[in-house]
């Protein structure tokens, strides 16, 4: 009897898990293996891959040795792609930094309201999620455009004499990314700060800690899991972003995301796009694993 029930329980568990597991397996894990496979074969002439497959390491070598011989003669820039990787990292770090700097005080402010206000304010943070990301980015583009809201307003006030170049540069990309990803930073930090016991700040003050030191010594370390979660949740998607750099950068700002996007589009170089995707994934993976290994237990829960 007991055995029967135990087996029945096992069956139930299997029934509950398998649909989700199958989904992940079929549509995430399997495609990943396909990407891995493609990254090690030669490209096809009109996109796709060469059939039958010819195995090669060229796609990875190319990352470190970029020769765009076709158009510009045999001009090689050994660090072209590495540079773009570095550049993407830099932009992602700047965006993450500002999302945390801007998000933390806001998350703190919201967490200190009375429950009814708290919920209302959190809804205001979340509502933008319901608008299409593309629409929001185009809207921001209109605000920053030469004839856009921002320039018109300040020209109208005669604070500036000619429109500022706010679009199609790195600044625009960074503004666009901060704009798009700020809520992702606020949510996990809010969760951490809301759980924080504020009598601990009183205790710190009572023991002679000025506000800044009390914050650095007590509140920040205790809400750090939320900050780290915010860091991961913003940095990972931003480093691979391609819509925002494409729209806000007007094709002038190259990031890993736009580069990969191009390999699967106009360049028709699936294998090279695949190898870049995998290198990007590997870099993020190493970063996240390194963090969790260094005692990020709390963070995992905060996420």
């Amino acid at each position: 009897m007991v055995k029967f029930f135990r087996r029945k329980k096992g069956l139930q568990l299997f029934g509950l898990i398998s649909p989700g597991a199958l989904w992940i397996l079929l549509f995430f894990n399997l495609p990943l293996l396909i990407v891995l496979f493609i990254s090690f074969v030669q490209r096809g002439r009109a996109g796709g891959i060469k059939l039958p497959p010819v195995y090669t390491l060229e796609n990875y070598r190319q990352l470190f040795n970029a020769c765009i011989s076709k158009f510009a003669g045999p001009a090689c820039d050994r660090f072209l792609y590495i540079g773009i990787f570095g550049h993407s990292m830099r932009i992602a770090l700047i965006v993450t930094f500002w999302c945390i700097i801007l998000g933390y005080p806001l998350a703190y402010f919201i967490s200190r309201r009375r429950p009814i206000w708290r919920d209302a304010l959190m809804v205001l943070v979340i509502i933008p999620f319901w608008t299409n990301f593309l629409v929001r980015t185009y809207a921001l583009k209109q605000v920053l455009a030469t004839e856009g809201l921002f320039n018109s307003f300040f020209m109208g006030l005669h604070l500036i004499n000619q429109p500022l170049d706010l679009l199609f540069n790195e600044f625009a990309v960074i503004i666009g990314l901060i704009y798009g990803y700020l809520p992702f930073a606020i949510l996990p930090m809010y969760t951490s700060i809301e759980k924080f016991d504020h009598s601990l700040m009183e205790a710190a003050a009572d023991l002679g800690a000025p506000p800044r030191r009390a914050f650095l010594r007590v509140m920040l370390p205790m809400t750090l899991p939320g900050v780290i979660a915010a860091l991961v949740l913003v940095f990972v998607p931003v480093v691979g972003a391609f819509i925002t750099p494409d729209i806000m950068g007007g094709g002038k700002i190259e990031m890993i995301g736009t580069l990969i996007n191009r390999q699967f589009g106009v360049s028709r170089n699936w294998p090279f796009g695949s190898s870049m995707s995998l290198i990007l994934m590997l870099m993020v993976l190493i970063g996240v694993v390194a963090y969790f290994r260094s005692g990020g237990e709390e963070t995992r829960r905060a996420m």
């Binding site: 009375r114 009183e202 205790a203 003050a205 800690a209 506000p211 030191r213």
Partner: protein, 366 residues
């Protein structure tokens, strides 16, 4: 040290805005002076303003009106982190991400005391609260009683001019509470620091304090030594809140020397010694403690009233009786079971005489 008082509150008011938009005076014109080296308790039911008063002394709240002085220095504009006081919080508020050593050493760290001296003084402080060798533990790994001692050590290590304690024993079980009460009192005598102790437990306040302020609805109703508060309560609230009291309604008939004659409603005349002035015909309440009443042992030159036993509760050390007088007023009587066998228990329905001296009762007008 420019003042004999450790802490002075002068006409302090604290108003809060209620969620409904109204204004509530949590502390309403409180004036008190706490002497240097004193164990002073703020006693009252929840919401009486005792914790708010403490928080204003600590600097967590600023008074709406009035002045707070610590050793003669005006504190209104001084932020909490610059005040010469330390607090033991109700829920201890130990820093969970720090070790016991880091917790206790936090105040010294803020003062810039060197690591080696800090470590030495932390182990001394741990000795003082009898938890030596606990330096590397985390607060989570300690029992409630141990956390309580760590919180105490964390505050006392800074040698504050005044130690503020906000119901520090509230979360402990009864036995541990009793132990800690004595320990705290002993500790206070040893270190000689002024303690201001917030509690809603009247027994705790009576046990530990040099003086007590009884508070209700934001007002300090009476400030005095435990025996003053108990024996000579200023009003009905204090008499009722501290210990058990019988209230008998009556009317002042006339004064005869030091004796006031009072007609108890429906029960008869009693005499109470009092030096205070009353007008004839004044409506008063006579408060008399249950342990000051005697059954069936009449007192010459005392009050002796007839009544009937309504209930008997035997609780080992004492027996409690409910006795109703002919006029309908009822009293509780507490008799110690000194000589059982000789002193027969009374039974429900027995006719008894209830006796008390002229000095036992207290006449209250409010």
């Amino acid at each position: 040290m420019t003042s004999e008082f450790a802490v002075e509150m002068h006409d302090v008011v604290k108003r809060f805005i209620t969620p409904e938009g109204g204004s509530l005076a949590a502390v309403n014109h409180v004036t008190m002076q706490i002497k240097d080296g004193e164990f002073f308790s703020l006693l009252g039911p929840s919401g009486c303003g005792k914790t708010t008063s403490l928080r204003m002394i600590a600097g967590f709240e600023l008074p709406t009106d009035g002045k707070i002085l610590i050793h003669g220095k005006e504190m209104s504009q001084v932020p909490a982190f610059q005040r010469p006081v330390n607090t033991v919080f109700q829920q201890y508020a130990l820093f969970p991400h720090m070790t016991v050593e880091q917790n206790i050493g936090f105040g010294l760290e803020m003062k810039g005391v060197s690591r080696s001296e800090r470590s030495m003084r932390v182990s001394e402080a741990l000795e003082m609260v009898r938890l030596p060798g606990m330096e590397m533990r985390r607060p989570k790994q300690l029992s409630g009683g141990q956390q309580q001692r760590i919180a105490l050590a964390r505050a006392l290590i800074n040698k504050p001019e005044v130690l503020l304690l906000d119901e520090p024993l509230g979360a402990l079980d009864l036995k541990l509470r009793k132990e800690m009460q004595l320990e705290l009192k002993t500790l206070q005598r040893e270190v000689g620091i002024t303690f201001i102790y917030v509690t809603h437990d009247q027994e705790e306040a009576l046990t530990m304090s040099d003086r007590i302020a009884v508070m209700n609805k934001g007002v300090a109703l009476q400030i005095g030594r435990p025996e003053e508060i108990y024996e000579r309560p200023a009003n009905k609230f204090v008499a009722d809140f501290i210990g058990e009291t019988n209230f008998l309604d009556g009317i002042v008939k006339e004064r005869k020397g030091s004796i006031i004659e009072i007609e108890l409603t429906g029960t008869g005349m009693i005499c109470v010694e009092s030096s205070r002035a009353f007008t004839n015909g004044q409506q008063v309440s006579v408060a008399v403690r249950p342990e000051k009443l005697r059954l069936n042992s009449e007192i010459k030159d005392g009050n002796n009233l007839k009544g009937r036993v309504e209930d008997v509760i035997y609780i080992g050390t004492d027996t409690h009786y409910g006795v109703r007088f002919a006029g309908g007023q009822k009293v509780r009587v507490r008799e110690q079971n000194v000589l059982h066998g000789h002193h027969e228990l009374l039974h429900t329905g027995d006719e008894v005489s209830v006796s008390f001296t002229y000095v036992s009762p207290r006449i209250l007008t409010e």
